[in-house]
Each structure stands twice: as C-alpha cells, then as structure tokens.
C-alpha cells in the first residue's frame, strides 16, 4: 500500500471542501472524505496484518523514500509499524466521529471542516513519517488549525484559551525543534532519518541534553505535568469536534513523539531520566485526578481527567519495559477513543441543556436515554471497567510497571493504582448527578440524539468495546513495535521470569 494515500486523501478532501458552494455540500464532502479515511485505515490494518502473517518481519512496512532536500539529507521517508497503525486507526475513528458531531455547525461551515480535515492530514503525516524533519513539519500542520478552531468556533474565554494553547504547543514544538537540530548536528553523519539515527548510537552527552528537550517538547502535547495547563482551558473553550480532535488526536501526537522519537533514538537518555519521568507522571495521574474532583464543569472534568489518564501514557513510557510501553500505546488509543466520545457526549448534552455545569443538570436519563447510556459507557470506560478499553490499557501499564522489583517503581505503581479510586469518585459524581436524580424542571422537552450523533457515538463505542473485549489484536499489533524500541534499552532486570 502506498502510504502517501494517507496524506493525499485528506489533502484532496480539504481542497474539495474549499471548492464547494454551500454548507450541505461541504458537510457531505467532509463526511465522504472521513469515511474514505476510515476505510483506508482499515485497509491499512488489513494489509499490515497480512504482511506480518506472511512472515514479513521488517521493522517498518510499506516504506517509501523520496529525496526532499538532499543537501541537508532530508528525505520524504514514510513507513508504518504496529504502533503507527494503531494511531492511524485511532485518528480515523476520531475524525469520522468529529465530522459527524459537527453536523450542526453553521458559522463558517466550510472553513470549519477544512480545518478539521487539515488537522487530520497533519496527524496522519506525523504518524507515518520516518524522517524527523517532515515529522516536525506535520506536527506543525496539526497545531495551527487548533488555534483557529478554538479562536473562531470556541466558547467562553476562547481567545485566551486559543492563545494559551497555541503558545504552549508552539513552545513545545520549539523545544522539539531544538532537540532535533541537536541530534542532527551531533552525530558524525548529518541525518534526520529516524531509522538511521536509531542505529547511530548518539553520544551520551548529546542524549543528556537532547532527550529532555524532545521529551518535554512532546510532553507538552500530552499534558506532562507541569505543562498541562493548556489542557483544561483549551478543551473547555473548543467546539465539540475541536475538543475531540484535541484530546483524541493532538495529545497522542505528543505521546507518540515521546515514544518514537525521544525514547527510540535516545535510549540512554531515557534511562537516565526515567525516574524523573515517573515522578512527573505519577504526580500528573494523582494530581490530575484530585483536581478533577473539584471541577464543576463537565468539560473541565474530562479535561483534567485527560491529564490524569495521559499520565498513564507517560508512566508507561517512563517505566521502560516492553509491557509498559505496549500499555502506553494502548492507553493512547483507548484514551483517544474514550475522551473523544466523552467530549462528543458533553457536546450533545450542552446543545440541549445549554449548560455544562454539573450542578445545573439532573435526571437527564429520563429524557435522553441514548445519550446518557453513552455517557455511562464512556464514564465506566474512564474509570477502567473491564470489557471497555480503559481497563485493558491501564492494567497493561500496571503489569509492565510492576516488572521492576525496585521499591521506587513499586511505590510509583501503587500510587498510580490508587488513582483508580479517585477516578471512580469523580466519574460517578459527574455521571450520577447529571443523569440520575429527579428530572430538573424545564428539561421536560429535551430530545434524544439525532442520527448523526448516534452514528458518531456508536462508531467510537464500537472501537472502545473492540479493544475492551478483544485486546489481543491490539496487543499483537503494538507489542512488536514496543519490543523494538526496548531492544536498545539494555534489558532492565525483570522479576517475572
């Protein structure tokens, strides 16, 4: 399969959207494009599994390389492994759901959909790049539409949030860029090629400097404590689809970058800084969870819980075992689906009740059984109910983390485990007080979900359940990739024989 399709498809969709005359056409073109992406992602999955089943054990499949800027050794180098395929699937799910829930956007519809599709273009490009320069290029493509999405279609203090988000993410990108250049100029060979750099054994001094730059840079995207404050403001001000993309896709760019770029290229740096990463991620997990408990706005609740959940991604990476890395990727996929769905549901509720304050809602189950059922599913997923994706991912991280016999990591793991209680507290608080209790006066005429909302929700729920009920396929997809990343990190003493 030619991977450029993944870039060209959104590109042509975006162009086609610009050529459309009215909002209806725009919507249908966007939906068609998103559906095509969705199908393409599954075709990719299918072909990938076929290749692997056929015995192709190359690290990257479907590789593709064009010279782009030969004098600086920049090439247009694409390729996927299991981790990328998982992330691409996630993106496809979120994009189609995002397009569907935005069906009622009336303000500048064409531009809105254009930006959504552009963002997906950046994400796909990011996930399939094997050249750090184009990886960075796509990263930037994925950042800029967010600013506009929040600034134009947002709500509340949207300008503030848009600025904050864009500046913090740009700051992160700047660190990434500095780190990339540091790597580029450090070795004997000037190269941006990921696969080449991974073989190069970058000197430890360089790693000590560049690893934190890259990790923190990407970490900003994935809400690394204390660089997470864009998350609550950004998510709560963004339009529904914007929040979905932000939490479902953008935050994953960071996690993927931490894993694929920082840890893969600089294993020694990762080992040196592992303890710091663990401490920060445990803080993010617990502190995010406790901060969530005090939130009153549904979007803030989900945003802070994202901080907590993304902490698991970083914890999985910081623990540096194959299982924990696999868990980190699973958590990315799971959290992407789950949080996108959560934001979609919040958006649906908000469209009907015109409030997001938990205290102002009550007994909605009576009027909108479908939406609230989805809310229950996503809430339960968030607190890690077996059968849904969150459980699988968190447990994999825990199991991976527990493979270290030293006390420090043990304590970290136990602290992280404790968060599942806090998660239960805030999730139950949020869903019971919105959904249950007597129906609030004035809400008697609320209606249930429309076809597009139902479709969007069901697609995401299908993803969540597919992972939750049958995690082995995702595990099989991801763990070989994690293993390769782990190969260069000299085997950490594992207790499990």
């Amino acid at each position: 399969m030619n991977l450029t399709l993944l870039i060209l498809l959104p590109l042509f969709t975006a162009i086609a959207i610009l050529l459309m005359r009215n909002a209806t056409q725009v919507k249908w073109v966007a939906l068609a494009g998103a559906t095509a992406q969705f199908i393409l992602a599954f075709v990719l999955l299918f072909l990938f599994r076929q290749e692997r089943a056929g015995g192709n054990t190359a690290q990257m499949l479907f590789e593709l390389q064009y010279n782009w800027f030969p004098s600086w050794n920049i090439s247009f180098h694409l390729g996927v492994d299991g981790i990328s395929v998982a992330m691409i699937l996630l993106t496809a799910f979120v994009v189609i759901a995002g397009v569907l829930v935005s069906w009622n956007v009336t303000k500048m519809t064409k531009e809105f959909y254009f930006l959504l599709i552009l963002l997906s273009l950046g994400a796909y490009g990011f996930f399939i790049s094997l050249d750090l320069f184009i990886l960075f290029f796509f990263l930037e493509i994925a950042v800029i539409p967010k600013y506009l999405l929040i600034g134009i279609w947002g709500s509340g203090k949207k300008e503030y949030s848009a600025n904050k988000l864009a500046l913090m993410l740009m700051g992160g990108s700047a660190l990434v860029l500095v780190g990339l250049l540091g790597i580029y100029f450090s070795g004997t060979e000037r190269s941006f090629d990921l696969m080449k750099l991974a073989q190069l054994n970058i000197p430890i001094e360089t790693q000590m400097i560049c690893f934190p730059l890259l990790f923190v840079g990407f970490g900003v995207f994935t809400a690394l404590f204390p660089f997470h404050t864009w998350v609550p403001d950004g998510h709560s001000s963004a339009p529904t689809a914007g929040s979905m993309f932000l939490a479902g896709i953008s935050m994953k760019l960071g996690g993927y970058g931490c894993l694929r770029v920082a840890t893969y290229i600089m294993p020694d740096g990762a080992k040196e800084y592992a303890n710091i990463i663990i401490v920060l991620s445990v803080i993010a997990i617990l502190y995010g969870a406790f901060a969530t408990m005090m939130q009153k706005d549904l979007k803030y609740i989900n945003a802070y819980s994202s901080v907590s959940h993304c902490g698991f991604v970083l914890l999985g990476i910081g623990m540096l075992t194959k299982t924990s890395m696999t868990g980190a990727v699973m958590q990315m996929v799971s959290h992407g689906l789950m949080t996108a769905l959560f934001f979609a549901v919040i958006g649906m509720i908000y469209e009907r009740t015109h409030t997001r304050q938990v205290s102002e809602m009550s007994g909605l189950l009576k009027r909108m059984p479908f939406i609230i059922s989805i809310l229950f599913i996503v809430g339960l997923c968030s607190l890690g109910l077996p059968g849904l994706s969150g459980f699988v991912a968190e447990m994999t991280v825990f199991m991976g983390s527990w493979e270290h016999p030293d006390t420090f990591r043990r304590v970290a793991t136990i602290l992280a485990c404790l968060s599942i209680v806090v998660t239960a507290v805030y999730i139950l608080r949020a869903i019971t007080s919105t959904a249950m209790g007597p129906l609030k006066a004035g809400y008697e005429t609320l209606t249930d979900a429309t076809w597009n909302e139902k479709l969007a929700a069901l697609i995401l729920v299908a993803g969540i359940i597919a992972i939750g009920v049958a995690p082995f396929w995702l595990n099989d997809l991801v763990s070989p990739g994690a293993e390769i990343i782990m190969q260069k990190i000299s085997p950490v003493t594992t207790g499990i024989k």
């Binding site: 600025n163 904050k164 500046l167 404590f225 204390p226 404050t229 864009w230 609550p232 403001d233 502190y287 406790f290 901060a291 408990m293 005090m294 939130q295 802070y304 299982t323 007994g363 189950l365 009576k366 059984p369 339960l380 890690g384 109910l385 077996p386 059968g387 459980f391 699988v392 447990m395 994999t396 825990f398 199991m399 991976g400 527990w402 493979e403 016999p405 793991t413 136990i414 485990c417 599942i420 209680v421 239960a424 507290v425 139950l428 608080r429 019971t432 007080s433 959904a435 249950m436 209790g437 007597p438 129906l439 049958a470 995690p471 082995f472 595990n475 763990s479 207790g495 499990i496 024989k497």
Partner: protein
C-alpha cells in the same frame, strides 16, 4: 471431561439476554423481556445442574479426589512470556457449587421479579441488568485466572452499581449506588495490588500454576516470595492480605461494610440476589479459591481473615438488633453471616480433617444463599404489600400473607440454627471448627449465634405478630404465583439443604470429608439460639413498651449500635472533610493559581517586557537615527578594539 460448550453457554446465555434486552428491549420487548430473561436463565440453570451432576458423580473424581479441571483456556492478553490474562473455565467443587447456587438463586429472583416488578417503566432494563449481573457472577466463579476473576469482579461491581441505582430518580438510591461502587472500588485497589504482587512472585496469573508454585516450599518462587519482606511481613503475606482486602470490600467485612446497608435502596429482589446470596459472598469465594496459598504459605494472613470475619459477625449482629428498617436488618444479618463464613475459613487448615472450616464455610455459603434469599424475597413480599420498609408500619400480617409467613418462619429458624433446618448443620460445623482451632473466635461466634436468633425473631414477630393489623386493604392479595413459587422453592431448600453430606463434595483438598454431628457440642449454640428466640418473643410478640425499656436500660450501647457505631460518620468525615478539603481542593487551587499562574505569569511578563521595549519604536525618525548611529559606533568599537 466436562463439555466446555455447555459451561460456556451457562455464562453466555445471561450475557445474550443482557445484550438483547439492553439494546433492543425498550423497543421490541417491552412486555416480553421478563419472560425472555427468565427462559434464558432457566436453560442456564439446567445446564449448571447438569454440569454439577456430571462433575460430582461422573468425571470429577480421580482416585477419590476431586480434580481441578480446566476445560477451556484462551489467551486474552499476553503481557510477557508466562504472564497473561487468560479467559478460561476452571471446574472444581467450589466453582461447580457456586454455578448451581448463582444460577438457581438468580432464576428464583428472575421469576419473582416477574411479579414484583410488573408494570415498571424500565422493565426491560431491569432484566438486562439482572442478566449482566448473572453473567458476571457466573464468570467470576469459573475464572481460571486471577486477573480474569478481577475482571468479572469489577463487572459484578458495576452491575451491582446499576441495580442499586435502578430507581435513579431517588436521591438516596443515587447516593447509595455511588457509595457502594466507590467503597468496593477502594477495596479493589488492594486486590489489584495483591494480584500484582502474587503474579510477580509466582510468575503467572493462572490459578492452578500460581497455587502450585506458591505452596511448594522447594520452588524458587516460593522462596523469593517469603524472603522479601516489607515492615516485617513477607511479600507473599502482603499479597494475600491485599487480595483479602478486595474480598473484604465485596463481602462487606468490617470496616469496609458501610456500603451494604445503603445498597438496600435497590429493588428488593436485587438485594436478595446480589446483596445477600451471591455477590457479597464473592470475597469468601476468593479466599476459598486461594485457600491453599493462605493455609500453607501465609497462616498470618489467614488468621487475619478469621479475626476480621469474627469481628464483622459480632458487630453486624449487634447493629442488626437495633435497626428498624427490615431490609437493613437483613443486610446486617447478611454481613454477620458472611463473617461466619470468613472466620470459618480463617480457622481452617489445609487438608483432611483439619480442613473442616473450609467445608463448613462453603456449606454455610450454600445454605445461607437459600435462606437469606428467601428472607429477602419474603421481605419483598411484605414491602410489596405494605409499601414501606419500616417495622413500625407492620404487624399482624400473618393472616394476610400466609405463604410469606410460613416461608419466612422457616428461613428464620434456619438462620437461627434450629435443627433440623439448613442453618443448623452448617453453623454447627463452623462452630466446631472454631472450637477446635481458636477459642476466642469460638466465643464470639457463640454470642453472635444467640444474637442472630434474637434479631431474626425480633424481625419475624414485628412483621407478623406484634400489634394487630390495622386497616390494610383486604382486597390486596399476597402476590401472584410468580412471587410465591420462588418462596416455596427456596423454603424447601432452606429446610432441607442441611441434609446434603457436603463434606463428601467440597473439602479443602478435594478428598472426602466425613462430618458427623456431635450432639453434646450442639447443645450450647442451640440453647442460646432458643433463648434468643424466646427473648424476642417476650419482647415483640405483643405490642408493648418492653423494647423501649430494654433499649433505655442499655442506652449507651443501644445508641452506638443504632448509629452503626458511627462508622459511617467517620467515613463521611474522612472523605468529605479530609479528602475533598485537604487534597482535592488544594490540588484544584494549586492548579488554577500556581501552575496556571506561572504560565500566565510567563505570558504577562512577556507582555510587560514588550510594553517596555516598544517605547523604542516611537515613530520619531531622529530617534531611530540616533540609535542607529550609537549602534554603529558601538559595533565599530567592538570590532575594532575588543574583537580583533
């Protein structure tokens, strides 16, 4: 060999019911959902009975020992070589016994609910949730992998949450379901960490392998697990204690019991199924499942189980004497009886005659399921008739509810340990086991058994005798066939289950255990039981002021017990005051003001700096020219004199 397909079907049929009714029920099966659920479960129950028959009488026994068979195992999630979550089926005496109990009680509740929940707006949802619960509980008991049990453990918890909150527009129900979920969740963290510890040291998650490695003193795994210690206690003991915390949460052991009384907000049949007969004994089941490890490798952990069980039994019995809500009385009674099962395990040893406690515990679990379900369903019938849970609204109902009255009486006699009802046999075994191994626990158990008889008959007399029935509408009937049939069936069970030679089937090591009655030993408990009944009769048979007088004379302890020994208030203090105010609020504050403040401060200082700098851009050409010249001179000096 057992047929894996049948056993899988036992579990999957309720799940099918859940999916079908949950997704399509509201639209297509508005009225037929009850019948669908019940039929599916009926098939399940038949299959379970068939499996039990097959296991106990056909293939289960090899050389006189019941084997642990694993007819199905499927790798669900591979962590690292050897460590994986498998979805499997384990067939051994306790899992088969539980299969029968769970499916049978569940079937009774399904049938009963056909009458009890008739006309409810969310009828299909109710049956869907029942299906989900039954699925999870059945899955739990046949789990062959410790992580698999955790998975179903959580699913059981969530179905319990959904069913407690079934009347979702009642704020008290909403609060109760939250509380139940969060308290058990808290305990589950212990369970989870326990799993992590056990899996780390044994290198597996599979029950059979895990038990085998951790109970053989020669294996390296065992040596490691015992050698590593934390706070003077070996890692293995820690792991088991943590697992037990999980079990204690689910089984409402002191001090994690606070959710159980509140859980009575759910529909009464649900209380009968989940919060009396099946889910709450999951903790007991878990300890029994890991019993060899407890008994052989970590006797300290096992004695902890024993003491926790005994304390819970006593405290719950005392509290039960003072409660006025009949369902709450039953809830505390459940807790007390589970305490019995726990300490029976706690005083047991592994293997042979020494394993009497194990058998007794399982036996009690079995009989308790019968009579406690019966009690709840009977209470349900009463509540259905009176529309109130409070004792003071009841009295003299024996004429109006004859079937309920008789069956309820049988259940009360059974729980009070009056021969020849089921409870007598199982309780005698427990007391015997305790007597043999731990006198302290034995005395606690004895006192508790007297209290049990007292509070059960207090309940019985208050409902069916006491003041004469007033203006209850005569035209109201006791409830249809659907409600009466389960009562009668369960009453038969409660009356006759004790005659099953339980030790022949279930014992700690799978061998045949002969249990005989020691008549001279039985005198004390039976006498105490009868005394309890007589006191209750004296106080409550006729309407009088005696109870108040007694309560007044024992005011200190009465008040403490009436307020559940203030444990709820302590929890409330810890969570509301401490957790929210001391951690949650500061965390949110720090985030808003310090972390975010720093971010904003960075932004603001950038702006301030630029405000200062922009003064240079005055728009005045001459100023620019001066800067320009000064700059040039500066650069020239720099390059000429300093940077040659």
């Amino acid at each position: 060999m057992p047929n894996a397909t049948y056993i899988t079907l036992i579990i999957l049929l309720p799940l099918a019911g859940f999916l079908m009714l949950g997704i399509f029920g509201r639209k297509y099966f508005k009225n037929t959902s009850g019948m669908i659920g019940t039929t599916l479960l009926f098939v399940s129950t038949l299959l379970a009975l068939y499996t039990a028959y097959g296991y106990f009488f056909e293939y289960g026994k090899v050389d006189g020992i019941y084997q642990k068979l694993v007819p199905l195992k499927y790798t669900w999630l591979q962590f690292s070589p050897g460590v994986s979550i498998d979805m499997g089926i384990i067939i051994d005496p306790i899992s088969v016994m539980m299969l029968v109990v769970v499916s049978f009680i569940s079937l009774m509740v399904h049938i009963y609910s056909l009458g009890y929940m008739k006309g409810d707006e969310r009828f299909p949802t109710y049956y869907a949730f029942l299906g989900l619960f039954t699925f999870s509980m059945l899955g739990l008991v046949i789990s062959s992998n410790i992580f698999q049990i955790y998975i179903f453990w959580e699913l059981v918890g969530v179905s319990s949450f959904l069913l407690i909150g079934y009347y979702y527009d009642k704020p008290s129900a909403v609060a109760a379901c939250k509380k139940a979920f969060i308290v058990t969740r808290f305990a589950d963290v212990g369970f989870l960490i326990g799993i992590l510890i056990l899996s780390f040291y044994s290198g597996t998650l599979d029950f059979n392998t895990l038990i085998a490695t951790l109970t053989s003193p020669e294996s390296n795994e065992y040596k490691n697990a015992v050698a590593v210690s934390f706070l003077g206690v070996s890692a293995l003991t820690w792991g088991l204690v943590l697992v037990f915390i999980g079990g204690a949460g689910k089984s409402a052991m002191f001090p994690l019991h606070i959710w159980l009384p509140d859980a009575m907000e759910g529909p009464t049949p649900v209380s009968a199924l989940i919060h009396a007969a099946t889910m709450v004994v999951a903790g007991v089941f878990l300890v029994a499942r890991l019993f060899p490890v407890f008994a052989i490798s970590a006797p300290d952990a096992l004695s902890l189980v024993g003491y926790v069980g005994a304390i819970s039994a006593l405290i719950a019995a005392v509290i039960a004497c003072t409660q006025t809500d009949i369902k709450r009385v039953l809830a505390y009674s459940t807790m007390s009886q589970i305490g019995y099962m726990m300490f029976a395990l706690g005083v047991s040893k592994y293997g042979g005659e020494e394993g009497l406690g194990y058998t007794a515990s399982m036996f009690h679990l079995f009989t308790h399921a019968m009579f406690k379900a019966l009690l709840f369903l009977g209470a349900g019938a009463v509540i259905h008739y009176i529309h109130s849970n409070e004792m003071k609204d009841m009295g003299g109902l024996r004429k109006y509810l004859p079937v309920t009255h008789i069956t309820f009486l049988i259940a009360c006699l059974a729980i009070a340990g009056v021969p020849p009802f089921a409870g007598f046999f199982s309780k005698e075994e427990i007391l015997l086991a305790a007597f043999q191994h731990n006198p302290i626990i034995y005395w606690i158990a004895l006192i508790t058994s007297g209290l049990t008889a007292f509070y059960m008959f207090r309940l019985y007399f208050s409902i069916f005798w006491n003041k004469e029935a007033d203006q209850h509408d005569a035209h109201k009937s006791e409830g249809g066939f659907a409600m009466m049939m389960p009562l009668v069936l369960l009453a038969i069970g409660a009356a006759a289950a004790g005659f099953i030679p339980f030790g022949h089937f279930v014992s700690s090591d799978g061998t045949r255990l002969e249990t005989e009655l020691h008549l001279q030993f039985s005198i004390a408990p039976v006498a105490l039981g009868l005394a309890g009944i007589l006191i209750a009769m004296w106080m409550y048979k006729k309407e009088s002021t005696k109870p108040d007088t007694v309560a007044a004379s024992l005011s200190g302890i009465y008040n403490a017990a009436y307020h559940k020994f203030y444990i709820d208030d302590i929890y409330l203090f810890i969570t509301k005051k401490a957790l929210f105010n001391l951690i949650g609020r500061p965390a949110a504050w720090i985030d808003k003001n310090i972390v975010d403040g720093l971010v904003n401060a960075t932004g603001n200082s950038t702006r301030d700096i630029s405000e200062t700098i922009k003064g240079f851009q005055s728009g005045k050409v001459q100023q620019y020219a001066i800067y320009f010249l000064v700059g040039i001179i500066g650069l020239a000096l720099l390059f000429i004199y300093f940077w040659k």
